[in-house]
């Protein structure tokens, strides 16, 4: 089913159907399970009725499903998809399996923006979303501009190694400023600490719409560059030799990735490991071709983050764990296991 077609490119329709089926099944499961368990069929029925605009009986279940869990699970799924497609794109573009929004420095830049907004109580009354979001997106773009300008100043070519090196240094610098701001944040320390660990609790439909729009626009642009990303993953020189406009493609991908990460960080905080580990796992299963890697990473990232969020909500119920703790814990173990298995297979 997942076999490449004769021309060795993307998935066939059946594979996409299966991906969607698993995604929807996981989504309904995550809405069912919580401090109050709701029957699977009832959950599916309420969601279906709400989707098709049929009258839904008002019960406590309905309120839990439609007002609390569904928007949260939707946001979690979209965040997982966005972070994973971003990670896959970065790892291909920079031909570096360790590249990710965090390696580039965009995540930490976005975090600083959000932390400043929390610490200083920055809100923008005329905008529907809070100051945290606007600040995170603005800082993500700002970080990108600073990193790219510095990289260009250094070697005039935006070489991938230079970008990663500057990204790591920039991340450290941002982290130190975040620590400084946190030290002087007084009573807001708890809010900042919890936010930096990542949480999607309390997400609403507005957040979901924003995430979906970002994923639709920037995710589509990234997906349209699958062949160019293949060329970059083979080598930047080779990409140029076969006719890829390397500077334009690199800039386009970097802008899309920073926009996606900015939106995700503003809504869910810094959720580590998803963008790094999901493309890795997907690459081990489906191979490195971005025509398969990008869509599969989105689906798997969404599913993985929904399950991680489920664990975060239910493991120590009623206490809720930060989702970033779960993703890092599960992701690291899963990664080591798959990496070990694949190496043994090769040996």
């Amino acid at each position: 089913m997942f076999n490449q077609r004769n021309n060795g490119e993307g998935f066939n329709a059946l594979a996409y159907l299966l991906f969607n089926f698993i995604l929807i099944l996981t989504l309904i499961l995550c809405v069912c399970v919580g401090s109050v368990n709701i029957p699977f069929t009832e959950t599916a029925s309420v969601i279906w009725k709400a989707l098709t605009r049929q009258a839904v009986e008002s019960s406590s279940y309905t309120a839990i499903i439609l007002s609390v869990r569904l928007p949260r699970v939707l946001c979690v799924a979209l965040t997982g998809a966005a972070l994973s497609i971003s990670g896959a794109a970065m790892q291909g573009l920079l031909k570096n399996p360790l590249a990710d929004g965090s390696t580039l420095g965009v995540s930490s830049g976005a975090s600083l923006g959000a932390v400043l907004a929390i610490a200083f109580g920055i809100t923008i009354p005329s905008l529907p979303f809070s100051g945290t979001m606007v600040m995170a997106i603005a800082f993500a773009f700002g970080s990108l501009l600073i990193i790219l300008s510095l990289a260009y100043k250094l070697d005039y070519s935006l070489a991938t190694n230079t970008i990663i090196l500057i990204g790591v240094i920039f991340s450290m610098f941002m982290s130190s400023i975040i620590s400084l701001v946190t030290t002087f944040a007084g009573e807001k320390v708890k809010n900042i600490t919890f936010w930096t660990m990542g949480s999607l609790a309390g997400s609403d439909y507005n957040n979901a719409i924003l995430l979906a729009a970002a994923l639709l626009i920037f995710g589509t642009v990234i997906a349209c560059h699958a062949r160019e990303l293949n060329a970059f993953a083979i080598g930047e020189d080779n990409a140029r030799h076969i006719g890829v406009n390397v500077k334009r493609v690199r800039l386009t991908i970097l802008i899309c990735v920073s926009a996606l990460i900015g939106v995700c960080v503003s809504i869910g905080g810094t959720i580590g490991f998803v963008g790094l580990v999901t493309p890795h796992i997907v690459r081990m299963i489906f191979g490195p071709n971005h025509k398969r890697l990008l869509p599969a990473s989105s689906f798997c990232g969404a599913t993985f983050l929904m399950l991680a969020d489920l664990i975060a909500r239910t493991l120590l119920n009623p206490l809720e764990l930060p989702i970033g703790v779960v993703t890092s814990f599960v992701g690291a173990l899963l990664f080591i296991y798959i990496f070990y298995q694949s190496r043994r297979g090769q040996g």
Partner: protein, 253 residues
């Protein structure tokens, strides 16, 4: 007809001049051999032609400055085989070779025609890669990897081939095959080849013109006999090249 016209090409990295006002032309049907000792600037010239290095001077293809070409249009005309290949991920041989067709169908909605697949299969076949078409490039030997990128170049089907040490990692059988293959390819209409080579015997056997460089400067450019004169080679390599070659050859008699 002149295909490539390079005039006053200079490349500097910081204060260091790597290529210093080098000029040469390549006509249709010619195989230009770029020779010279290590550090002569041979690969840097290739890099400049592929727009991978900043340079001064002009590089014209069919009379038009290559900087004015879109990258996809330039790739249809000039194809480059790099000296070294470091692939990061486990792409299959077929996936790498198929990317050679990028410049011919760059649109995202471009459908693959049978013709496209045929060119890819032909490229795989003439480079002897058909049996390992689905193998990961990470598991290939140096020679197989070199042939994979050579196949990508044939799939790209440009008018000018620029080969930076094409026999790198290749054993004698494939060295002979690659040179015979390129020689055959050159017979097509409107084609030319430039190759950077260290093996002067190979250069002498297949070249129709040559450019001899030393420390970024042109020592000699022109037909094979004039460039390969004893004096030119001795001045570039600082040794009696003719005597060395004869000594090597005497081992086989």
């Amino acid at each position: 007809m002149t295909l490539l016209d390079i005039n006053g090409l200079s490349v500097r990295y910081g204060d260091k001049t790597i290529v210093d006002r080098v000029s040469f032309t390549v006509d249709e049907g010619q195989w230009l051999m770029i020779i010279g000792p290590n550090g002569a600037g041979k690969s840097t010239i290739v890099n400049a032609i592929s727009q991978g290095a900043d340079y001064t001077g002009t590089i014209r293809y069919l009379g038009q400055d290559v900087k004015k070409y879109k990258p996809v249009d330039l790739a249809k005309q000039i194809g480059i085989l790099a000296q070294n290949h470091h692939v990061g991920y486990s792409f299959t041989v077929a996936e790498v070779v198929r990317l050679g067709r990028y410049s011919h169908a760059p649109g995202i909605f471009a459908k693959k025609s049978n013709d496209e697949e045929r060119l890819v299969e032909e490229a795989l076949e003439i480079t002897g890669l058909t049996p390992i078409v689905n193998q990961s490039v990470l598991t290939l030997s140096g020679g197989e990897l070199q042939r994979t990128f050579l196949a990508q170049l044939f799939a790209q089907n440009p008018k000018v081939l620029i080969l930076d040490e094409p026999t790198n990692h290749l054993d004698l059988v494939y060295q002979k095959q690659v040179f015979a293959l390129v020689n055959e390819w050159l017979k097509g209409e409107g084609r030319a080849v430039i190759s950077v080579v260290h093996d002067l015997s190979l250069a002498k056997a297949y070249g129709t013109s040559a450019l001899l460089l030393n420390r970024g400067k042109t020592v000699s450019f022109g037909d094979m006999d004039s460039v390969f004169s004893q004096g030119n080679l001795e001045s570039a390599y600082s040794m009696d090249v003719y005597a060395w070659m004869r000594e090597m050859l005497s081992q086989w008699t």
